[in-house]
């Protein structure tokens, strides 16, 4: 790790100490436009390390786009920021080494089994694949680990994707509507993953409509029309969004 810090300095990036002290997310006037349609408008957001932030808002509020910008799947059209001390635009590959996004699409290969999908994800993220059976057991799919995803329901696919996120223990976990299509036990597995991350001092940003999950969060922000519309202190999970 020391050598990586040296490399970062040589490459013009932050030193290891600077990177470790930086907020998990620091967005400065981030705007993302699709064609002529703005999805995220001048968002300033700072998330400290170890926080669990709930992002709420109606459909089309820009929650998913915001998470995808933070995950570096999308570039900001205007504005910028840092994620885990790395520049959102210049240091995308470094950010990706520490961030996991669980999005609307499960990103699974239908002709691979659940276990094969997870083993491939492990190979691509440098994660130890020994934890694959345990991760599938945690989401209740241990007995279908060797069955192809093609025959799975949407809920089962979502659970495989949750298992993939559980495997990696990233510094920043981005969950975009992770409860969609899940039954109670799988929802509990997501909650458990969020609690585990919180206890380990990792950062979680969770976008969901599910107000019952507000207790997981240390802070709530609300989006509407692509903008952050409420200060964290004003965002009451019982009444807003």
């Amino acid at each position: 790790m020391a050598s990586r810090g040296t490399t970062d300095v040589l490459a013009g990036g932050p030193s290891r100490a600077e990177q470790a002290a930086a907020p998990a997310v620091s967005l400065r006037s981030v705007t993302r436009v699709f064609g002529v349609t703005p999805a995220v408008v001048r968002v300033d957001l700072t998330v400290e390390r170890g926080e669990v932030v709930l992002v709420r808002g109606p459909n089309g509020a820009g929650k998913s786009t915001l998470l995808r910008v933070i995950a570096t799947a999308l570039s900001p059209t205007y504005g910028g920021g840092d994620v885990l001390g790395f520049d959102l635009v210049r240091d995308r590959e470094r950010i990706r080494a520490h961030v996991e996004l669980l999005g609307h699409r499960t990103r699974l290969y239908e002709d691979l089994t659940a276990a094969e999908n997870l083993r491939f994800a492990c190979a691509m993220t440098g994660t130890d694949a020994a934890g694959v059976p345990d991760a599938l057991d945690r989401v209740g799919l241990g007995d279908v680990a060797d069955e192809r995803v093609r025959g799975f329901s949407q809920g089962m696919r979502q659970r495989v994707a949750v298992a993939r996120a559980l495997l990696r223990h990233p510094d920043l976990l981005l969950l975009d509507e992770p409860y969609a299509g899940l039954d109670t036990s799988a929802r509990d597995a997501v909650d458990e993953a969020v609690d585990d991350a919180k206890e380990a001092g990792r950062t979680v940003i969770l976008a969901t409509h599910d107000v019952t999950r507000a207790s997981l969060a240390t802070r709530t922000v609300v989006m509407d029309g692509g903008r952050l519309v409420a200060e964290p202190a004003l965002a009451d999970p019982e009444t807003s969004g």
């Binding site: 995950a71 570096t72 799947a73 999308l74 570039s75 995308r92 590959e93 990706r96 080494a97 961030v99 996004l101 999005g103 699409r105 499960t106 990103r107 699974l108 290969y109 239908e110 002709d111 691979l112 094969e116 491939f120 994800a121 190979a123 691509m124 993220t125 440098g126 192809r148 696919r157």
Partner: protein, 224 residues
């Protein structure tokens, strides 16, 4: 994880999907066979004429098979947003490109053996010439076609008019491979096998350029 192991993981994943889907054998091979049979019937029974046209038809079938196999390789990435997973993976994107190239090339080589055997049977193409040059032409041509397909397939996933875009991009770029492949096959299966060196050299040059370009720009093609 090393670059080579990442490349192997992508190639292994694509080949496993292909073996299970049986797309190459189930769709691409019948297409190539139909093309050869229909041309063989329309050209008539003249043995010399059939032998002269066989290399061209053979490589036409291989080129279309390459287009179909490359598109199939990226269909599995597009099905549920898997390509975004590759984008967000903290790996050198050149490893992803080379892995997909290797998988497409492996499928094509298997198909080529079958299509070559079919062509030899239907068109009386002699396989008694310079077999080393014949094999060299196919291996080098396959690398070039797979290199083009693996590179532009990524664009195909994100393009709005994906059905039309991919052939428009790939077929003009594959023209040098088609020409050199036809010429080297024609020479290798005739008594003039020793003269195919120039065409094989062209294939080597094309492969070096396309693989180098693909390795350098593939990551940029995947990015938003």
């Amino acid at each position: 994880m090393s670059f080579v192991r990442q490349t192997g993981a992508v190639a292994g994943k694509d080949l496993r999907i292909e073996v299970r889907g049986r797309y190459a054998l189930g769709a691409v091979l019948p297409f190539a066979a139909t093309l050869l049979v229909s041309f063989g019937l329309s050209l008539g029974p003249g043995r010399t004429f059939l032998q002269q046209t066989a290399p061209g038809l053979l490589w036409m079938a291989v080129t279309f098979a390459a287009v179909l196999s490359s598109r199939r390789s990226y269909e599995s990435e597009a099905e549920d947003g898997a390509l975004e997973g590759l984008l967000l993976a903290p790996v050198d994107k050149a490893a992803v490109y080379l892995g997909k190239l290797a998988a497409i090339a492996a499928q094509l080589l298997v198909l080529e053996v079958l299509v070559l055997a079919l062509t030899a049977a239907l068109f009386d193409l002699p396989l008694t010439g310079d077999l080393t040059q014949l094999a060299g032409g196919f291996v080098l041509g396959t690398l070039g076609l797979a290199g083009v397909g693996a590179l532009f397939g990524a664009l195909d996933v994100s393009a709005r008019a994906r059905e039309a875009v991919f052939p428009l991009l790939v077929l003009p770029l594959a023209a040098p491979v088609l020409v050199a492949g036809v010429k080297s096959t024609a020479l290798a299966t005739s008594a003039r096998g020793g003269q195919a060196g120039g065409w094989l050299g062209l294939l080597v040059a094309f492969d070096v350029v396309i693989v180098a370009a693909g390795t350098l720009v593939y990551g940029h093609l995947l990015e938003d």
